[in-house]
Subunit: 92 residues, 2 copies
DNA sequence: AAATTATATAGATATATTCCTATGTGTATA
DNA sequence: TATACACATAGGAATATATCTATATAATTT
């Protein structure tokens, strides 16, 4: 699978979305739980989640009425190290 | 020295600026030379260069009338690998 | 000193982004 | 089946961003 780097970096260049990523670092959370960590309204959080999902940074899983989100660390590693390699020589 | 990750990722989430970075990958270039690789007007390129400079991604060097820009690969490595480490466990 | 050259800054406009409120959709429950 | 709940989508307003043209600045040349 191949990632859209521009989409990835646009996604992570917003503090709210980075904070969501931090929340999802160790455990999955549903939208309501995520919302509790912000002042923002739920639709705004849903919007940020859709941007993260569209950039392949998070995946979701439906369970009844709820939607659980979790980080896809493979995407993060792939995009960050890929971009880095694009500009910097590797030391062997 | 400490980098502003949000500023860094905002800077690299624009295709024009990434293309400028690619041009500066192996050699320094002055503004006029950089402009030749784009359809865009010179002030727009200057604007992009100032964003890259402000994010510490490029450094500049004045020589007479000209300003030469070059990549700061330390910044790139530091920000990319720093962000990655923030979210992904290292394998030892 | 005046003209030229290289780059930066200022101001305007079009588009993109972020947030809100209102409403739609799908699932569970009474 | 009607209602409630969890989340997503739509539409609008405020702000940010990218681009342009015009002009300022600073160094060089005539």
């Amino acid at each position: 699978m191949s990632y859209d780097l521009n989409k990835f970096f646009k996604a992570i260049s917003d503090p709210t979305r980075v904070k969501i990523m931090e929340l999802l670092k160790d455990k999955e959370m549903n939208v309501g739980e995520i919302c509790q960590h912000f002042e923002m309204q739920q639709p705004s959080i849903s919007h940020h989640l859709s941007i993260l999902k569209n950039a392949d940074i998070v995946k979701d899983r439906k369970q009844g009425k709820e939607v659980f989100y979790h980080l896809d660390s493979i995407c993060i590693v792939n995009c960050c190290s890929g971009f880095q390699r694009q500009f910097v020589e590797q030391k062997e």
